[in-house]
């Protein structure tokens, strides 16, 4: 065991998704299997975790700081936190061992900031968080994503799409970290307003989220303090869904719960394979 990982696995038989009879061992195994795909997104970022030590049917909690007992080999990033008025030490998941250590702590959900610790004020991802308001659901969010893609296509920008694992859809653009969050936020806001004008079911302002059946393009998510559920992160829902990158061609046929802990590790194609090779120009 020591040869393969520095992590000491504990309580492997603890129920995590009781309805599906999944235990902590299954969660760790999941993260082992998707590690090659998820690590590139976690590397160099201050991670936020949602931990469920007693499984998804019990209370979970957000964790930003490195918890007591963090092993010395885990990379941490110390930063002054305005809200807490103290230096906070964040966990940076650069390698497999750190990922497995987090999984062993029942960190079911991994949330990543849109910027790296090298300069947290300069995002390398632009996020269009498409959030449907009931009765709108995944179907409407997908429709909005397709329309958004056309709009970005017109601008010569190549976006990537993933499910949120709940009912939303995330459309991402990878950029060089040269813009401020204010700029990326305004970029998203601008396109959102344009779409909202053309398509009645799309709204661009948080004040409109109470309108039933709409899909909000939530531009304020582009901020230094916000995080996005990482691609391939599990979700803490009964069905053990996964926030899953999908090919644009497959997007219209995606149904809720299609991607989950059982089938995502076996996905043959990585639709985001080229995302790092092609930073997009959004100016």
């Amino acid at each position: 065991m020591e040869d393969l990982t520095r992590v000491r696995f504990t309580n492997l038989d603890k129920p995590m998704y009781p309805e599906l009879r999944l235990i902590k061992k299954d969660v760790i195994e999941y993260y082992i299997r998707v590690a090659p795909r998820v690590l590139p997104f976690l590397r160099g970022r201050a991670l936020v975790r949602t931990r469920y030590p007693d499984g998804v049917e019990a209370e979970g909690f957000y964790e930003k700081d490195a918890p007591p007992g963090t092993p010395g080999w885990v990379r941490t990033h110390v930063k002054y936190s305005k809200s807490a008025d103290r230096d906070t030490s964040y966990v940076v998941c650069d390698d497999l061992d750190t990922l497995l250590w987090l999984a062993n702590l029942a960190s079911l959900e991994l949330h990543m900031p849109l910027s790296m610790v090298t300069d947290t004020s300069k995002p390398d991802f632009v996020l269009f968080d498409l959030d449907p308001e009931p009765p709108a659901g995944l179907g409407e969010a997908v429709q909005a994503a397709v329309l958004l893609r056309e709009a970005l296509d017109d601008r010569g920008v190549k976006p990537y799409v993933k499910t949120s694992g709940r009912k939303g859809v995330h459309v991402l653009i990878h950029v060089e970290p040269v813009h401020t969050f204010r700029q990326t936020r305004e970029y998203v806001h601008g396109i959102a307003r344009e779409l909202a004008v053309m398509h009645g079911f799309i709204v661009s302002e948080r004040s409109q989220t109470n309108v039933p059946g709409t899909v909000l393009v939530d531009h304020p998510q582009n901020s230094e303090r916000s995080t996005m559920v990482a691609p391939y992160s599990l979700r803490a829902v009964r069905e053990a869904t996964v926030s899953t990158p999908v090919a644009w061609g497959d997007l219209p046929s995606v149904r809720p719960f299609d991607h989950n802990i059982f089938n995502v590790p076996d996905l043959a194609e990585d639709p985001w394979r080229d995302i790092w090779d092609e930073p997009q120009d959004i100016t």
């Binding site: 065991m1 393969l4 990982t5 000491r8 696995f9 492997l12 038989d13 235990i23 061992k25 760790i28 195994e29 082992i32 299997r33 590690a35 090659p36 690590l39 497999l96 497995l100």
Partner: protein, 264 residues
Amino acid sequence: MSVLKGKPSTRSVWTGRISIGLVNVPVKAYTMIKDQSFSFKYVRRDDACPLKYERVCTLDREVVPWSEVGQAVEVRKDEYVVFSKEELDALRPESNKKISLRKFVPLSQVDRVFFDKSYVLAPDKSGDSYGLLLKAFKEKGLAGVGTFTLRTKEYPVLVYHYRDSLVLTTLRYSDEVVDPRSYEDLGKVEEPSREELDIALKIMENLTGEFDSTEFKDTFKERVEELVEQKMKGEVIAVEEPETEEVRELMSALRDTLAQLQKT
């Protein structure tokens, strides 16, 4: 015959007499059961300074000397009825140094769940009367039922012949043993199908054998002793955790992933 490997004691734990009617036989009792469980000493980890327990007042944290310690029963929360040593001694059974056997029963008739601890009864002073008693027990094949007071507690006991000696086994009181049927879980046991039962019976038949207690060993104790040896020689102990099925599966997945990560 089962193999018994416990080391005999040098000192008896009780002396007195077995009495049957008017016959009195002086005997001494030796421990027959030797607990070999491993026990550690508590120390401060850094400098191995041994620790001791102290009786401390829960209110003022002062250490209370034995001379001031009393015994009490908590009748309600934080309300105690205190007894003096004399009061308790008066309640305790008198150690009359006698095992009175009032009845004789076939040993097999005594439910084995009552059996607690066994002692070897050896002749004290003259062995003549002991020899007589032993012979009588051996020929009759019965166990004598009586009571026996060891230190401050009275036990029901059986006395019987075992390997050319008299053995005394203390018994549990009937309110100390739980009827398995009083556990609710047992009400939920389902009837198996005939096929399943046949398979189970077949397996049992194939595995039928003789009980041999030497098949079992307290490996924890042995391994601690090995480690003590190593530590005394100044060897560094590598902690090895047993791999469970779950860990094995994780390691196999890990091997695949590590190979994959190396490729990229």
